[in-house]
């Protein structure tokens, strides 16, 4: 194991984040606060409790999950895309570092950033609503598993993208709609039966449901299924990354 290399990339990525720490943290915190003001206080006060939880508190896990997905993808995709764009990727390719180590460093840094952000959002949310977390350890497990999975996805997008447009395309066209339709702001049990069934094809449903269970001990789908699906997404992401490295796809000519 080339630990010095993992440390070098990880520290480099964290330092890059640290330089723009204000934007990195303030913008998600502000947008989350806005969601709470609008949905929690303004509209939420007129919405009845969902699954026994006030609407303002109900949307907390979903909002955090939404930000976690977006931040994991954008952090990781940018982290690997930028060296390709700037040409500095030559250094990583010529270094005595294995594929596994490269992924650990880049994905680890991206996941760390988004988990930190999620925790800051959680703290922000606690200012607006009464939060109690039924299963704190499981909450962290879901947080970390999801952050790693979507950072891997971001890593894949960063390697696939050959322009900044493509970097934005996938999160904008696929991830954000899936997150909004994945029960972030509602319980899928509120939907008509047909849409409930369709929703089950949306991977985000399982992530949000599992995460919400960790908070309120109530979920749209069984917690076991949520966990299994989360692990399955992680496995799929790992398989794709392994394939990319084995074939040298878009990295080595």
């Amino acid at each position: 194991m080339n630990f010095y290399a993992i440390k070098a990339i990880y520290t480099f990525e964290m330092a890059r984040w640290w330089r723009t720490i204000l934007q990195s943290i303030i913008s998600p915190v502000v947008s989350t606060s806005l969601y709470f003001v609008v949905f929690g206080a303004a509209i939420g006060s007129r919405i009845e409790a969902v699954e026994g939880v006030s609407y303002g508190a109900f949307i907390v896990p979903g909002l955090i999950m939404l930000a976690l997905l977006q931040q994991s993808i954008s952090n990781a995709s940018f982290g690997i895309y930028f060296p390709k764009f700037a040409g500095t990727i030559y250094e990583i390719l010529s270094a005595p570092i294995s594929h596994v180590e490269t992924v650990i460093a880049f994905v680890g840094a991206a996941a760390t950033k988004s988990v930190i952000l999620a925790l800051i959002m959680l703290a922000t949310a606690a200012l607006f609503v009464d939060l109690n977390i039924a299963h704190p350890v499981w909450m962290l497990v879901f947080l970390i598993l999801t952050a790693v999975t979507f950072s891997l996805l971001g890593f894949i997008i960063g390697i696939w993208a050959d322009g900044f447009e493509k970097l934005q395309l996938f999160p904008l066209l696929i991830v954000t709609p899936l997150a909004f339709l994945g029960g972030t702001f509602y319980s899928i049990t509120m939907l008509p039966p047909l849409w409930q069934t369709i929703s089950l094809f949306n991977p985000v449903v399982y992530l949000v449901s599992g995460f919400r269970w960790a908070f309120y001990d109530a979920s749209d789908v069984h917690i076991g299924i949520s966990l299994a699906m989360t692990l399955a997404f992680l496995a799929v992401a790992l398989i794709i990354v392994a394939w990319i490295f084995r074939t040298g796809y878009r990295l080595r000519t």
Partner: protein
């Protein structure tokens, strides 16, 4: 001598290396080349000859299609950790993490190559390359020449045994060129093997111990520099005349003499490695025509002439 012993003695040993890109372009055709430990090897060739691809395959940027490369006896594919740890690469293009400081980016490379932090080593490198004053500046604020120095510092940060310089002096000022060659000489004294690509022939002529010429993906020649120059060098014999003449007598034209513009010099180009250069016959013919000779001089052709001659012969 068996193959293994040979491979261990060579810093880089390339055998039967071919590279065909996905586009079908054959960048390298069955290249075999040994770089000796501690030498400065110049790889000369026109643009698009395959120099950068060759370096890329050794350093891990390009996947070889077939063939084998050993660096310090380690296979670059099967044993990439050991082989790559030995190599420092200065790429052709000026790249860099624009918002990083010089110190941070050079230290980053050291870590990437698996070496623990060592501030003294980084300090020495930065001072050698006149970068010490700039250590806390961001790359984006540096001039092109300074960025080139940073790339060299990065390549040296993990104290490599083999240094690749891909077109190191393209667009570089005289001062940096001088600094760079000083550093290269010091490295060589410490036993570092240096491989540089260039199309500036005077650079190879000045620096290299051995020269390889690559053209259209094939190594067409590998030779000691001094040998190459004497072996392939053509010489010009210039005969200065006491009195200018208007036309060259037919007997002299017949044996290959030319007259210069103002009629004061006769020029004869000959192959200095030939057994019989024909100079005696020539001189006899000149005096037979009644021309009186004021002075004689010979000049050796430069590596550039050799190079152009080689490529022309292949075309």
């Amino acid at each position: 001598m068996n193959m293994h012993v040979q491979a261990a003695e060579a810093a880089v040993s390339i055998s039967n290396l071919s590279k065909t890109y996905d586009t079908g372009f054959e960048a390298l055709k069955n290249v075999s080349l040994d770089i000796r430990k501690g030498e400065i090897f110049a790889l000369l060739g026109p643009n698009g000859a395959g120099k950068t691809t060759l370096i890329g395959t050794v350093c891990g940027l390009v996947n070889p299609t077939s063939g084998q490369i050993l660096v310090g006896g380690h296979d670059v594919v099967a044993d990439f950790r050991k082989s790559r740890a030995l190599i420092g690469l200065v790429p052709q293009e000026l790249t860099g993490d624009r918002f990083e400081t010089v110190w941070a980016t050079v230290s980053f490379t050291r870590g990437l190559f698996g070496k623990p932090r060592n501030d003294a080593v980084i300090e020495k490198i930065l001072k050698d390359l006149s970068l010490w004053d700039k250590r806390n500046e961001k790359l984006i604020t540096l001039s092109g020449g300074m960025k080139r120095r940073v790339l060299i510092a990065k390549a040296l940060s993990h104290e490599p045994e083999i240094l690749f310089l891909d077109e190191p002096t393209a667009g570089v000022d005289v001062e940096l060129r001088r600094d760079m060659w000083r550093v290269v000489r010091e490295l060589r004294e410490r036993g570092v093997t240096i491989i540089l690509t260039t199309h500036y022939i005077e650079e190879a002529e000045e620096m290299a111990d051995r020269i390889g010429v690559i053209s259209k993906g094939e190594i067409i020649l590998v030779e000691e520099k001094t040998e190459l120059m004497t072996k392939l060098g053509k010489k010009d014999l210039t005969i200065q005349l006491q009195e200018p003449i208007a036309t060259l007598p037919a007997t002299l034209t017949a044996i290959g003499l030319r007259l210069n513009g103002d009629g004061t010099e006769l020029i004869h180009t000959y192959d200095s490695q030939a057994d019989r250069t024909g100079i005696a016959t020539l001189m006899a013919a000149v005096s037979a025509e009644g021309l009186s000779v004021k002075d004689l001089s010979t000049s050796q052709s430069s590596l550039e002439d050799i190079f152009i001659g080689l490529l022309r012969d292949r075309a």
